[in-house]
């Protein structure tokens, strides 16, 4: 069997001749002795000159072809990206995904296109696919702020706290191409919201402290941070932020209301009333109004106010006893306790006996000159409010004011 076009034949007849020069071929050798040197020279010429020339020519042609190809790909990539952007802006996430996938195909490694696709997928609810793209992007740019933020949001949706924290921090400390401070700040706010949703107040507090340290001079931002600090229970820091906000804008209703609330929680009722009343004037609000009402009651009932004389103080103590007595009666009635005839060991009965004693003492004219007795009366009133709060539910109105006053007095340094 011989190969088509193959001059080397497997078997040669005895009188074989070279097809090129006609010279005799001596089997079993298949090379023509006359042609071999010429063939070698031809081969070397081809190898040294022809082959490199051919390679160079093909290389040059390929360069032109690839250039054209890349240009076409770039045009397609831009066209499809533009369609994707338009669809996304029009709210058509599904169409945007189709267009952006095509754009990704033509743009190869263009990360902005992939990122946009990931955003579109996220917006359309295709979380797994969005995360797959984002993780690829994250592998390439682990410090890209936007990629980290998108991943954090996906992890948050999956209730992966550790993962979300990791990526939120990546967003907070990562690189942002435009307005880095704004994006980092917003990322931090989002992180705090996430932590508060998970009731992780300590961690949220730590983030807020860091956030507060980097705030620009902007009253709204300070007020926003102050409100979040209130949510985590860091009242002193919250008040400081609201005060900072008021320094920048003393008429800010949010800052005034926030400062009032923070002061209230810190049992600083006089400044609280001042802030809250200003806030109410700036922007009426039912919550603020209720707070103002309570604060006014507290301030009106406070027997420890420095501006009071002895008679006024004694009157406030008597009023406290009356309020406590009424609360005791209503609580006993609601629980069907006969304060007069109940067994000696009942808590409410015990308070009732003490109350009756102190009420009789408070009616004496000498009551105003007996601060120890007054303190005793106030303590009893506070105890009654605490007990009835425990037994009959949270107090309202004057009872609440009395309870808060008692708590303030107990927590004050002696």
């Amino acid at each position: 069997m011989t190969a088509a076009g193959d001059p080397d034949r497997l078997s040669l007849p005895a009188d074989a001749r070279c097809p090129r020069c006609g010279g005799a071929l001596a089997p079993p050798a298949q090379d023509c002795p006359a042609c071999a040197p010429k063939r070698t020279r031809r081969r070397h010429l081809l190898f040294v000159v022809g082959l490199p020339a051919l390679t160079a020519a093909v290389f040059a042609s390929t360069v032109l072809l690839v250039r054209w190809y890349r240009n076409r790909e770039a045009v397609f990539g831009q066209q499809w990206f533009a369609r994707g952007e338009s669809a996304l802006e029009a709210g058509n996430a599904q169409a945007a995904i189709i267009y952006l996938r095509t754009a990704v195909h033509y743009s190869h490694d263009l990360r902005p296109v992939r990122l946009r696709l990931a955003e579109a997928l996220s917006a359309a609810g295709s979380r797994q696919e969005a995360e797959a793209y984002l993780r690829t992007l994250w592998e390439d740019e682990p410090d890209n702020g936007l990629v980290n933020l998108e991943l954090a949001r996906l992890r948050a949706q999956d209730h992966d706290v550790a993962g979300a924290l990791r990526y939120f921090h990546g967003a907070v400390y990562g690189l942002w191409l435009s307005e880095p401070e704004l994006h980092r700040r917003e990322a931090r706010f989002e992180l705090v919201d996430f932590l508060l949703q998970r009731n992780q107040k300590n961690q949220a507090d730590a983030e807020l402290v860091g956030l507060a340290a980097e705030l620009p001079p902007n009253a709204a931002l300070h007020a926003r941070v102050g409100a979040l600090l209130l949510d985590v229970g860091n009242n002193p820091r919250s008040l400081a932020e609201f005060k900072s906000a008021l320094q920048l804008d003393r008429r800010s209703p949010e800052a005034l209301a926030g400062a009032g609330e923070a002061s209230f929680r810190l049992r600083q009722y006089w400044p609280a009333r001042r802030y809250l009343e200003q806030a109410l004037r700036r922007r009426p609000s039912p919550e603020v109004a209720r707070r103002v009402q309570i604060v006014n009651l507290i301030v009106g009932l406070d027997p420890y106010a420095e501006s009071l004389d002895t008679e006024e103080r004694a009157d406030r103590v008597r009023r406290a006893l009356r309020i406590a007595s009424a609360r005791l009666q209503s609580c006993a009635l609601s629980h069907h306790v006969d304060l007069q005839n109940a067994p000696q060991s009942g808590e409410l009965v015990g308070y009732n006996e003490q109350l009756q004693q102190l009420e009789s003492e408070s009616r004496k004219p000498s009551f105003a000159q007996e601060p120890e007795l007054q303190n005793q009366a106030l303590t009893l009133a506070g105890s009654i409010e605490e007990a009835t709060a425990r037994i009959c539910g949270p107090p309202q109105g004057p009872d609440l004011a009395l309870l808060l006053l008692q708590q303030q007095h107990e927590s004050a340094p002696q």
Partner: protein, 587 residues
């Protein structure tokens, strides 16, 4: 091996003066010296050709189906059918040798046609496959790239008037270059060519294959970038428990491979033997059927499908869709291939594997969320699994997955899943795909899988202890003659100190005895004889055949102690061993 041609040895000597001496040295550059350089050029040219090929089928796709990933339905229905008719005309009237994927055609060049692939075939493959893949036929570009590279190598070899031996070696060199550029994976390409085309590891050919593969990949990356074939999301390291999940994938992949092969085998034979006029219609009809699949909602099965594999790895599809795509791709590829449309099977295999792997992964994630890893990992392993089960190249399938992913952490799941699929495929479908196709085409190509499985016969399998025909050389000739007569061996083997093993024939000993020199020692008698070539027990039996015709008996000696005779070997011993081995394999 090859030595300088006799003609060059007969060239008159040239005086040793400066420039003429340099010309003499240049003339002495033979094929052995030129071959590595030629391999590099083959790699470069093949890489350039594959780059152009890729641009060709992509541009064809843009022109025929548009730039959208999911083409308009009207085009999906019409374009593949019309392009199929055009392909049929080209195949019948212009490029009749371009049918098929290209792998068997390259093997045929190597084993039958002395490395010959016509350049017309290269051009036809280029045009035909660009049209086929670009119009949406469910075929891939890798196998054609393999043949294009082999064809370029063959053309170069013919122009350089290389010897037949070198021409045969050029086909795999070019094939490796073409495949490496197509996959952007040089290691996998080299392994595939050695595993499936050449079938043996030889230092000489391996060097050239590696050079050409590397050169082609360098060129390809220069033009098209170094980005891997797939943008794979980061893969978490698999837990040991997950291996059970990958084992399930191996089973699924093995079964899918068998189904795929049997469908092709079942459909191809009757279509090949159909009347000639039907061959004008078969590609068009295939295009229409593939177009219908695309028209009714699954255009992802059209073309090579790499972008959709990428999307599958990015969790775009649910398990139902993935399963459907895997099944439809098997159907579409079968239709395209058996109709005679030129194109490759590698990309469809990867597609099916990716979809199947993703489907299995999604299902396992649904029912056993604590057990399953990322879908990308399953899709990737699935690619290798189908490659191992369908193409039956187990080594290539493992390295290919590692190369396209760049991630070594999944090597254990890959090996496990691939092995299971390979075993299942071998058990249920004895003949591998390429062997099956070659036999249907009337070519009796060597089955490299069978060659790998064959037991290698060694000298130790055939040798026997010497029957007294052994001497240390001190005995007299008369005694040696007696020993030889008693042993019935054809030769007396004598070890001569410092001179190795010599063989003394009966005629020589009898002649010396007749001359009255029977007291001469055997060592003295052997002084004028040639040394016997020695064998070692671990030598392949083929090695013994090269020497046995010159000597009726050969000594087999210990490697650490050449004086220690392990046995002797004759031609009849060798032939009997081959006969026994064949009888055992037939049983």
């Amino acid at each position: 091996m090859n030595s300088l041609p006799e003609t060059l040895k007969a060239t008159p000597s040239i005086p040793a003066s400066g420039p003429r001496r340099r010309r003499l040295r240049f003339h002495r550059l033979g094929e052995e010296q030129l071959f590595p350089l030629l391999a590099i050029f083959i790699g470069i040219l093949s890489g350039l050709a594959v780059v152009c090929f890729r641009i060709a089928y992509e541009s064809t796709r843009w022109a025929l189906l548009g730039s959208a990933l999911l083409p308009p339905r009207s085009r999906v229905l019409v374009v593949p059918a019309l392009a199929g008719i055009a392909i049929a005309v080209l195949l019948i009237h212009v490029f009749p040798t371009t049918r098929g994927s290209g792998v068997n055609q390259t093997k045929a060049a190597l084993y039958i046609y002395n490395g010959y692939i016509s350049f017309r075939t290269v051009v036809g493959k280029f045009i035909g496959c660009a049209l086929a893949i670009g119009s949406g036929q469910s075929l891939g570009p890798e196998d054609p790239s393999l043949q294009i590279g082999a064809g370029i190598a063959s053309a170069l070899g013919r122009r350089l008037e290389l010897s037949r031996d070198k021409m045969r070696l050029l086909a795999p060199v070019g094939a490796a270059a073409g495949l490496a550029a197509a996959f952007n994976a040089p290691v996998s390409a080299v392994l595939f060519v050695i595993e499936e085309v050449i079938g043996r590891w030889s230092a000489g050919v391996l060097g050239a294959v590696v050079l050409s593969a590397v050169a082609s990949v360098v060129v390809e990356r220069w033009f098209l970038g170094a980005a891997p074939l797939f943008r794979i999301p980061p893969l978490p390291a698999p837990n040991p428990e997950e291996l059970a999940a990958y084992a399930v994938l191996g089973v699924a992949g093995g079964i899918a491979s068998v189904v795929f092969v049997k469908m092709i085998a079942w459909l191809r034979a009757p279509l090949k033997s159909a009347p000639r006029w039907t061959q004008y219609l078969q590609p068009g009809l295939a295009g229409l059927l593939v177009g219908l699949i695309g028209y009714f909602g699954y255009p992802q099965v059209m073309g090579a499908g790499y972008v959709f594999m990428d999307q599958a790895m990015h969790d775009q599809y649910g398990w139902r869709m993935l399963g459907i795509l895997a099944g439809l791709k098997i159907l579409a590829t079968t239709i395209s291939f058996v109709s005679g449309v030129p194109g490759g099977m590698f990309a469809p295999t990867l597609f099916i594997g990716a979809m199947l792997g993703g489907a299995v992964g999604e299902l396992e994630r649904h029912f056993l969320p604590h057990l399953a890893g990322s879908i990308a990992a399953y899709a990737l392993v699935g690619m290798g699994t189908l490659f191992a089960g369908f193409i039956r190249a187990p080594l290539t399938s493992v390295f290919m997955v590692l190369e396209v992913s760049g991630d070594y952490s999944i090597v254990v799941p890959v090996i496990l899943s691939n092995t299971i699929a390979y075993v299942i495929s071998r058990s249920l479908q004895r003949t591998p795909l390429f062997d099956l196709l070659s036999r249907q085409s009337g070519l009796d190509l060597p089955s490299l899988e069978e060659l790998r499985e064959e037991a290698v016969l060694r000298v130790e399998d055939a040798m026997r202890p010497p029957r007294l025909a052994l001497s240390d050389g001190h005995q007299p000739v008369s005694e040696g003659l007696q020993r030889l007569d008693r042993s019935l061996e054809p030769l007396l083997v004598v070890h001569v100190e410092g001179a190795g093993w010599r063989g003394l024939k009966r005629e020589l000993l009898a002649g010396l005895a007749d001359q009255g020199r029977g007291s001469l020692t055997l060592a003295e008698a052997a002084a004028g004889e040639f040394s016997l070539p020695v064998l070692h027990p671990d030598h392949p039996l083929d090695t013994a055949l090269r020497h046995i015709y010159d000597w009726p008996l050969l000594p087999v000696v210990h490697r650490a102690n050449p004086r220690q005779l392990e046995g002797v070997l004759t031609l009849s011993d060798i032939l009997n061993t081959y006969r026994r081995s064949r009888a055992q394999s037939e049983v």
